[in-house]
Structure formats: structure tokens, C-alpha cells
């Protein structure tokens, strides 16, 4: 059967994720040191796992409210207020989702009409452009550049604004660059959003993982922003809960209600087991991740020093657990570098182009990996760089 006529044109036109292509080269090989992951290297802290086991033992296996367990929403409200100094009503302004991915998808579907433009920054997490397209929106890329430490420049955003622009989507600290936003630049973007009456989606999934004693500032904290911001956050990164698929959205009630409609028809609710684990995670708060955060910071210091030491220019990222070294001096493209390194030295990194065309000339290395393995991977990468450099 010719399935091309059976499939949605919209979906056929979406590209496959570059991560997926690369994954297939690596899968099944046991000899590889992988810096290619996008998640913590430790399992979820034991008290959180233990709370989930207890919840299963008690027989808590039912649906929950579409919005999520009220006790979890109350806990989220407190946690979010503590992080961002913005208060959300747990009854009407917080929705528990299946990871931030779902929250992002339903946020786009809730607000976009066909042809509406969404400004987002690349290199970025793989699902932004597809999520916008699946909601019949038009993705508008603004590149972030290494010379700005991969922060988003308000001047670049301003140039991209048209009468059709509806949303600016932000994700800082950023996967894959580790870039963060200087507060003064964030303030300018907030002012642009107010001036042009735009919505802002801010994906805060890495906001707890900041280094060098930095304090996080979210765009939602600026005057006039709460009413036009959908704040997306979740448990995956800081709490090492990627597989639980638990996230949430905080937004003014009319926006949240629209997202809730999509959520209730396509997802019903997030799994109760994950929600019970989430309650325990928020009870633990920063005690659940502070040791890991410190450990990531130390690993970042090692990997940044080693990459620069081997002549791959690498800026010192302020957050998340990725470094994004430039590999142009090797004369290879991102893909050639990643494939060569995998084939010759059995070290996996992800080509920067998997995160958008602006990632050409870079690769992503995740340092949420045991320090010993980081050192070994850097030794092997240095050998590779010396062999291929013209």
C-alpha cells in the first residue's frame, strides 16, 4: 500500500528529529562513552521513589482531576512563588501535565490560529519548531550566537516581530547551549512583548541548575508580564525525574482554561503515581538537587577546561548540564565530527545541527556523566581532534 496518501501532509512534512538519527548509530553498542544524553546520570532521589512505592501500596491508581491533584497544585504554587516571586492560584492557574513537552504542545494549540507566528531561539530543544507546526503556527527562528554566550538579543527579536507575531518562546538555561539570559536583555524582551502585545512562553526546565552563585530571573517577574506569560516547568532535570513524565503550566486563568481543554481531551490527566512522587519532590525542594547541582558545576569546570585546552573554543555555560564547543577548527562539519568521534574513539556527542541550523559548527556534550568518564571521553576526544585537525 502507498501510505504516503494515507498520512497527514502536515506530519509527513515534519523532519525526523536529528537526535533520533544519531541515536540509531549508537544504539546497541556497549563500548561507547556517551556524552549524548539529555538527562541526569543519577536515578530519582530515593525518598521520591519511596513515596511512589507507598502510594502504589495504598492503591492510589485512579484518575485524578484533569488539572492534577489539588495537593500537588498547591505545592507547585508555593514552589513557583519561591523561585519566581509570582503567585498563581492552584485552583485556576496551574495545570499538571505529562512533562513540559505536553505543556508546550497544548500551549501552542491553545493560542495559535493558522498562520500565527511564533518567535523562538535556535539552537534549541528539538520539539519547538515541530510543536509550532503541529499547531498550524509558523516558526520564526532567531539565532542565538556564541559571541553573546548564546543569550537571545532583544534587538534580534525586535527585527523578527511582524503583525502576525503572537508568541515569543524562551528556554533559558538552554538545551543544548547552556546559555542563560542576562537580566537586562530579558527586561528588554519583556518590554517588546508588552509594546507589541505578545504572549511569552517561558520553558524553565533547567532553572534550578545555575552555576557560579547565579540567581535565576524569569521573564515572568518583570512588570506587566504575568498576564501575558505561560510559565512551563517540570520535574525532569533538577529532580532527576525524566521518566516520570511530569510537568506543569502556570498561566492566567483564561489561557490555562484553554490549555486545559486540549489536555482533558488528549491526555485526561498526568499519571497519579508520578503526581504522588511530585508531591514528595516538592517537599524535599532544593535538598533533592543541591548536591547534584554542585557536582554538575564541578564537572562543568572540568569539561570546559579540557575542551578549551584541546583547542576547541567552548564558552563557560551558566546553567543546565550541557557544553556546546565550537568544532570548526577541525575542518569538519558537526555531523562529520560526531560520527568520526563515535567511529574512531567510541565517544558519543550530538551534532549541533540536531538543534537547528544555527548549531552547525558545534556539538553538544552533556556533562551529567560520571567525572571519570568525562575525563576519559576528553582524553579520547583530544586524540581525535589531534588526528583530524588540518
Amino acid at each position: 500500500m502507498d501510505y504516503s496518501h494515507k498520512l497527514s501532509k502536515q506530519i509527513q512534512d515534519l523532519p525526523r528529529s536529528g537526535i533520533r538519527d544519531f541515536f540509531e548509530l549508537v544504539i546497541g553498542r556497549t563500548d561507547v562513552i556517551s556524552l549524548g544524553v539529555g538527562e541526569p546520570d543519577k536515578p530519582t532521589p530515593w525518598p521520591i521513589r519511596e513515596a511512589a512505592i507507598r502510594s502504589l501500596e495504598k492503591g492510589q491508581t485512579s484518575y485524578t482531576s484533569n488539572l492534577g491533584l489539588e495537593s500537588l497544585r498547591v505545592a507547585i504554587s508555593g514552589y513557583v512563588e519561591n523561585l519566581f516571586h509570582v503567585s498563581y492560584n492552584p485552583k485556576t492557574e496551574i495545570l499538571v501535565t505529562v512533562g513540559v513537552s505536553e505543556a508546550l504542545d497544548i500551549a501552542f494549540r491553545a493560542v495559535l490560529n493558522p498562520g500565527d507566528e511564533v518567535i523562538y531561539h535556535e539552537p534549541c530543544y528539538v520539539s519547538y519548531a515541530p510543536s509550532i507546526k503541529m499547531a498550524y503556527g509558523v516558526p520564526v527562528i532567531v539565532e542565538t550566537r556564541e559571541e553573546n554566550n548564546f543569550a537571545l538579543m532583544a534587538a534580534d527579536v525586535e527585527k523578527a516581530i511582524t503583525p502576525k507575531t503572537k508568541v515569543i518562546a524562551l528556554n533559558f538555561p538552554t538545551n543544548p547551549t547552556g546559555g542563560i539570559m542576562p537580566p537586562e536583555e530579558l527586561e528588554k524582551i519583556a518590554a517588546l512583548a508588552v509594546k507589541h502585545d505578545l504572549l511569552v512562553f517561558t520553558d524553565e526546565i533547567y532553572c534550578e541548575l545555575l552555576y557560579d552563585n547565579r540567581q535565576h530571573k524569569s521573564i515572568v517577574e518583570f512588570p506587566g508580564m504575568k498576564e501575558r506569560t505561560i510559565l512551563l516547568h517540570g520535574f525532569s532535570k533538577a529532580f532527576a525525574m525524566t521518566g516520570w513524565r511530569l510537568g506543569y503550566a502556570c498561566a492566567p486563568a483564561p489561557l490555562l482554561e484553554a490549555m486545559m481543554k486540549v489536555h482533558q481531551y488528549c491526555m485526561l490527566c498526568a499519571p497519579i503515581l508520578s503526581q504522588m512522587a511530585g508531591i514528595e519532590a516538592l517537599k524535599m525542594g532544593s535538598t533533592a538537587y543541591e548536591d547534584m547541582r554542585q557536582s554538575y558545576e564541578q564537572r562543568r569546570n572540568v569539561i570546559v577546561a579540557r575542551l578549551n585546552g584541546m583547542g576547541l573554543h567552548c564558552f563557560n555555560p551558566g546553567g543546565a548540564f550541557y557544553v556546546f564547543p565550537e568544532i570548526r577548527s577541525t575542518g569538519l562539519t558537526s555531523k562529520e565530527f560526531a560520527i568520526g568521534l563515535l567511529e574512531k574513539k567510541s565517544v558519543a556527542v550530538v551534532p549541533g545541527t540536531a538543534f537547528g541550523a544555527a548549531g552547525e559548527g558545534f556539538v553538544r556534550c552533556c556533562y551529567a556523566t560520571a567525572p571519570e568518564l568525562i575525563v576519559k571521553a576528553m582524553d579520547l576526544m583530544e586524540e581525535f581532534v589531534n588526528e583530524v585537525r588540518p
Partner: protein, 159 residues
């Protein structure tokens, strides 16, 4: 705690150059601070944490609860220090609660430990009573799980 000491406490097997990279210090500075911590007794020593069963050790370990009489001058210290000096004693702590000293003793076999308690420990002036508990199986030592259950492997590449 000094981050260098914290790192060594987690894993004392790291090279000084690795520690220097992690802490963004020079290797000389790391060595200087380690020597200083050793000199002032903040670092007492460096051990491997050994799963004795897997390492083929056939000896026994016992936790001995010891009740002692505090002395007019010095309280529990003088006697506790005397007990701690025996080679068989691996750990010795003053405790709150129903007894005074928790003494961890290693021996070749049950008899060896029993002899130590009967001949050396109980006979010390000031020791009122002992209660000996032999360890049967280790589940966690010095922060490490023994026979750590295999945590599920991560995917090698993920977004």
C-alpha cells in the same frame, strides 16, 4: 565543609590533577590544602571501602555496647581513648541513650572477638557492662550500597 574535603570524602581516589580541574585550582594549591587538612587532622586518613564478603575476608565484625563509669576528672574521655587504642577496635563513639560507647570490633572469628571482650574490654577498670552484637550481612557501608541494584541504563542519546 571545604569543597576539596567534600570531594575527597566522596572519592579519595581522585588524582590531584583531577581535583584541581574540578575545583578550578592549581594542582599545587590542591596538594597544599590536602597536606594542611592532614596536618590539622581534618583528614584522618584514606581508605578503600571494601565489601569484605566479595574480597574473601572470613573475619567477623561486632558492635559492642559498652557502659562505663565517668571519672571525676575527664568524664568518659580517658577510658574511651584507652579502648579506642586497641588495634581490634575499628570505630569507637560516645553515644547518647542506653549505653555509653559504641565500639566496632573486628576479629578472625567469634572466639577471637569473645576473647577480646572477656579479656581486654570487660576487665578495664570503669567498664560496667558490655553487650556484643555480631554483624551478619552488609547492605550499605560508608555511603555505598553493597550489591547495588543495577539502575536501569540510560539511553545513549536523548534530546
Amino acid at each position: 565543609m571545604d569543597p576539596l574535603i567534600h570531594l575527597l570524602q566522596i572519592n579519595s581516589n581522585r588524582s590531584t590533577s583531577e581535583l584541581a580541574q574540578i575545583l578550578s585550582l592549581s594542582e599545587d594549591e590542591v596538594v597544599r590544602r590536602m597536606r594542611a587538612a592532614e596536618a590539622e587532622g581534618a583528614i584522618l586518613g584514606y581508605n578503600a571501602v571494601v565489601d569484605k564478603h566479595k574480597a574473601g575476608h572470613r573475619g567477623v565484625t561486632a558492635l559492642i555496647e559498652v557502659r562505663i563509669t565517668p571519672e571525676r576528672e575527664g568524664g568518659f574521655d580517658r577510658l574511651a581513648k584507652r579502648i579506642a587504642k586497641f588495634d581490634q577496635v575499628r570505630e569507637c563513639f560516645l553515644m547518647s541513650g542506653g549505653y555509653d560507647l559504641a565500639v566496632l570490633v573486628e576479629g578472625k572469628d567469634l572466639l577471637d572477638v569473645a576473647n577480646f571482650v572477656a579479656e581486654k574490654l570487660s576487665t578495664l577498670g570503669g567498664v560496667l557492662s558490655t553487650a556484643t552484637h555480631f554483624q551478619l550481612k552488609a547492605y550499605k557501608q560508608a555511603g555505598f550500597l553493597t550489591n547495588a541494584v543495577d539502575d536501569e541504563e540510560r539511553l545513549p542519546v536523548s534530546p
